[in-house]
Each structure stands twice: as structure tokens, then as C-alpha cells.
Assembly symmetry: C2
């Protein structure tokens, strides 16, 4: 059997009580008060928006399963402090776990982390263990700039991050490198910050030797790898100028790009320059760009159409739709095998 | 007659005395002393590296003319203070003017500006006037993040920049939006900061209505427009979500991308999704990526080969090589007409 696995879905349609609690939590923090108790949310209140949005679109577009994480833009690690992030990550991940339990055939969980700009990573390591070991999650979203748009965190190759990478390797889960909302008036979140951060992350990996130290570490760089495939010649050339090894061995045994590129020529380029073993189908649906492209009459983020239209061997297409995701997320693969898939 | 005009060349081969003076200037600033006098540089000392590098490569590759500006990475507006930037911009632009006088058929000048993170733009306006009116320059490089990699400046649509735009319109010169060196350990200059800043700038223009206020303002976004053409669907979709007009009228009457994309598939994508009227030939030579691509046996930055290989009508290719540059840089066009070209 062949599956279509979307590696990049966020819970952009969470019940209103969830977002209202976050608002109250942040207001309480500002006033120095404790946050109110988290509200009751019924299963039906979870089902309704999921069925009207993600499930409906998955069925219409013909995908089977979404690797699902809390809404990226509202992780907002730059707000509050570490304790605020710990509480927010916990309730957000618990809600993802409920979605996955309600629709076990359709959603696999990926957690957000309780990062905070001036905090260490101990609480992120603890939350990763909890989500993987207790909730059955298959990966995490790691924010390379929890400060929210001024790029003040150490590069991903810095030893600051190593304890977290050790936990990822121990648990055998990958991270999607994904920033959150922007508190920089010059950086629009989904149009500027996301794409810039993706590009910056890749260049950090070229400059360092992270995967020499962590050969089993796996990163997904979303949004088609930012600018990287379009500037693939620049990156190959810069690696050479910096006297780094070829990207194939230096970075591309450990880094994967999704297909969240919202037009056919972009996905064509991605498939032309990047080895298909490094490409994972993803749509970021329902997410950043929700409209219909007047040039095609289809949704911008219906990226399955673009992958379907690629002039590539079926074996490569199957790798993009399923095989690579099962390889990069071995815990998902194990869950699917348990289900006989 | 048809010309090949490279819109993006930096003076990366300036005589060593020039860079030594800069070093001394910054050391003097740190100690609270006056900078030493600027050194004597003979015409021969200017000629030699230019002939061994830019002129040699221009001839080999078959281009005719380069729009030439001070080395981007050493503008370094984040170092020193405004007075330091004023002195550095002045001597750097004067050196460009000398190159243009020595090789009037081959180089047209574009100035750097004496920007400084916490300063206004009065000195930049004065230097633009001096360079255009006294030195015969045809454009300028405007740094959208003179802080050097933390994106702390107001967006390009902010009124902070308006007095400078008024000067540009008055003088009828365009600006290349070009950051400089990075003082952020997470942002490699040519691999991360440049491409991120290009992308961020474009998104700022989508969000605002700058060209409604300045219909004659013209920007070149270098390095192929950062990530923009690769994510053209995302940007068209975001404009729609933000209830902005179509990009064609909202931004693309005023914004141009160069061809500094160092592999054939990238330049193919650029020409496929971006109207040829918005593409200017550029190589950034001798610049960011100097090596030979082992996949092609040619220099990464020999972008003329990529444009030559495009499967497009000759009329479109001529626009990319010459016509668009003459339209975007009318003062260059006037100089060429004076020479009977």
C-alpha cells in the first residue's frame, strides 16, 4: 500500500478557548498573577474545526496522513518567560495529542518546545521526552530564533544546542527547524521571517560540522528549504570557498526540505536540483497562504498537485510522498507498521 | 548596437592601501583619535588589479560594461559612527570615480552611502547628490539594515526613508537594496544575510504602499531577488491575503531583480516566473562565489552563460542584457547616448 504523508501541518484551527487561555495567560504574566486554569474543551469542540478544515482538505486533495504540530506563529517563544513557555507548550502539545487520539489514522504528533530567549534547553528536553515517550509523538519543531526576528540566538551549530540534539538522537526523532511569530516590525512572519530563517539555518549548517558530531541527527528545513534550492549554485560554491566538503556528504545526509512552495515552477526547481531522497511532501495546510491562485484555479497550498505534476519516475514520487517521511520519522514508520501499513 | 550591461559589480579588488586606511580609521575611532590622512594611490595601482580581474573576466565572458560600486561587505555601516561612515563613503566613492574615469567605456559608478545605525539620512542625501552631480554616478546602494544583521532598522516603507527617496526621485537614480557585512555570528554575509535581506525587503514592499507614494522610485533587489522568485506563489498569495493589489501593479512597476543566481536551473526559474522587463543582467563579479562549478566546468558567477542559455525570445534577452538597465538607470542611458551607443 502506498500512502501520502504530509510532513508539515500546524493546528491553525484550535478551539477558541485554547487561544483565549493563551491571551489570559500572557495578561496574567504581565500583571504578575498566576494564569487561570486551562478550560475544558470537549472532543466535539476539537472535532468540528478539524473536520471542516484539515480533514476536509486532506480528503479533497487525496492525502492520507499529516504530521501535525501546534500552530507555528503562536508558539511565540519571545513572549513571557520560560515558565510561561513551559505551560503553553504543555497545553498545546496535549491538545495535539487529543487530535491524534481522535483521528489516529490521520494525524501523527509533533511537539512545540518551551523555548525562551534567555533560557537553557533543559525544559525543552523534558518536554520532548514527555511528548515522545508518553504521548507517542514522532518529532519536534525547534525554533532557531526564539527571540522572534532579531536573530540573537547562537547558530544551530553552537554547543548551546548540543544537549537537545543528544535527546533527539537518543529518542530517534527529527526536528523541523521552524521559527514562530515575529516581534520585529520589519519582518512579516510567513513572508519574511520564515523564509529568511530557513535560509540562514542552512548556511549555518554549511559553515559548521554539526553532522560530523551528530551523524544521526535529522533536520527538516521547511518552506522548500527557504531560498536554498533557488541558490543551490551559491551554496555549493560557498561550501567550496569555505573549504568545506561537498554538500552531499557534509549536509545532505541529514537535512530534508519539504514541498511547501506554492507554485509549480518552484516545486519543479526543487525536484530538479535537490536529490529526491531529501524531499518530503508537505503543504503547511491550513496555513500561511489560504487563497486560490487565479492563474491555476487551485489552492496555492495544494502542493500535492505540484508533486503529482512533476516529470519524475514514480519511485521518486513515492519517496517524496511516503518513503522519505518514514525514514526521517522512524517512530511514525513503526506506528504505521503496527497498523499493517 | 547591442550592449551587455552587468548591473552588479563591486570593487572587491581595491588597492591594499585603501583597505589599510580603513583599518587605521577604525582603530583611530576606537582610541578617540583622528583618522590618518588618506594615502596616495597611483593610477597604475588602480589599473593593475582591475585589469587582472574585472576587465579580464569581462572580456573573457563577453560583457561590455559594469555598473560598479564599492565592495558591499566592507561598507560595514555598523562600525564606527556617522562621521566614520561619512569619511569612508567619501573615499570609497572617490575611488570608484577614479576607476570610471580610467575606464569610461567599461565602468559606470554607483555610490555607497554614509549610513550609520542610529543616524538620520541627511549625510546620505548629501553624498548621493555629490556622487551623482559631481562624479557622474548613475545610482546608489541603499543598506536596509545598516546595523549589520539584526534587522533593527525601520522597514523600507517607513517614513524614515522618505527624504532619501525624494532625493533619488529628484536625481532620477535607482537604488540597489544591498546589505553589507554581518556582525551577527549566526549570519554569514554572502550566504545568509544577503539572501535573507533581499527576501525581507520584498515582503516589506508587499505590505506597504511605497510606490503609491513614489511612483517613480526604482529598486533593484540583487541576488536574483533573494528567495522571491522561488516562492513567487507564496508572495502572490500573501498579497491576496493581505488585501493588497496584484504584485504586477503594486510592486513590479518599480522593483527589478538581477541575475546573480549561480546555476542554470535558478536562472531558468527566474526567467520563467518574473516578467523579463523586471530582470537585469548582473554577476556580482568578482564577488561572493569565485570558484568553478565542478558540475559545469565554468565559473559559478559567469551568469552570462545562464542568460545566454535561456530558451527565450532574443528581444527578451536583449532587455535583460541592456534595455532594462538603460530604462532603470536613465543617467547611464544618457551617458551611453552621448557616446553614440
Amino acid at each position: 500500500m502506498s500512502l501520502i504523508i504530509d510532513c508539515h501541518g500546524h493546528y491553525t484551527t484550535a478551539p477558541a478557548q485554547h487561544d483565549a487561555w493563551r491571551k489570559a495567560q500572557l495578561e496574567s504574566f504581565k500583571c504578575g498573577n498566576e494564569a487561570p486554569p486551562y478550560p475544558e474543551i470537549t472532543d466535539d469542540e476539537i472535532r468540528e474545526p478539524i473536520e471542516q478544515n484539515q480533514l476536509k482538505l486532506l480528503r479533497e486533495r487525496g492525502a492520507d496522513l499529516t504530521i501535525f504540530s501546534p500552530r507555528a506563529s503562536t508558539m511565540a517563544h519571545h513572549l513571557g518567560d520560560e515558565a510561561v513557555s513551559i505551560a503553553w507548550a504543555r497545553v498545546s502539545n496535549d491538545l495535539i495529542a487529543r487530535v491524534c487520539r481522535l483521528y489516529p489514522e490521520t494525524f501523527a504528533g509533533v511537539c512545540m518546545l518551551p523555548q525562551s530567549p534567555r533560557a537553557g534547553l533543559a525544559s525543552s528536553i523534558a518536554e520532548l521526552h514527555r511528548c515522545v515517550e508518553e504521548l507517542g509523538f514522532v518529532g519536534c519543531n525547534l525554533n532557531p530564533d526564539p527571540g522572534g526576528g532579531h536573530f540573537t540566538s547562537p547558530p544551530l551549530t553552537d554547543r548551546y544546542w548540543y544537549p537537545f540534539y543528544e535527546a533527539m538522537v537518543e529518542l530517534d526523532v527529527p526536528a523541523m527547524i521552524h521559527v514562530s511569530g515575529s516581534c520585529n516590525p520589519g519582518l512579516h512572519a510567513t513572508g519574511a521571517f520564515y523564509i529568511a530563517a530557513d535560509t540562514i539555518a542552512f548556511m549555518q549548517l554549511i559553515q559548521g560540522d554539526l553532522f560530523g558530531n551528530f551523524p544521526k541527527l535529522r533536520f527538516i528545513i521547511p518552506h522548500g528549504g527557504g531560498a536554498v534550492p533557488y541558490h543551490w549554485g551559491r551554496y555549493r560554491g560557498l561550501a567550496h570557498m569555505l573549504k568545506q566538503p561537498d554538500l552531499a556528504g557534509h549536509v545532505m545526509n541529514n537535512v530534508y526540505f519539504d514541498t511547501c512552495v506554492y507554485h509549480q515552477p518552484g516545486v519543479n526547481l526543487l525536484a530538479e536540483v535537490i536529490d529526491s531522497k531529501n524531499i518530503l511532501f508537505g503543504s503547511e495546510m491550513v496555513g500561511a497562504v489560504r487563497g486560490i491562485d487565479p492563474e491555476t484555479g487551485s489552492y496555492f497550498d495544494d502542493t500535492k498537485r505540484y508533486v503529482d505534476a512533476l516529470d519524475i519516475a514514480e519511485e521518486r514520487r513515492a519517496a517524496i510522498f511516503e518513503g522519505n517521511a518514514r525514514r526521517v520519522y522512524p517512530r511514525l514508520d513503526a506506528q504505521l507498521k503496527e497498523r499493517g501499513l
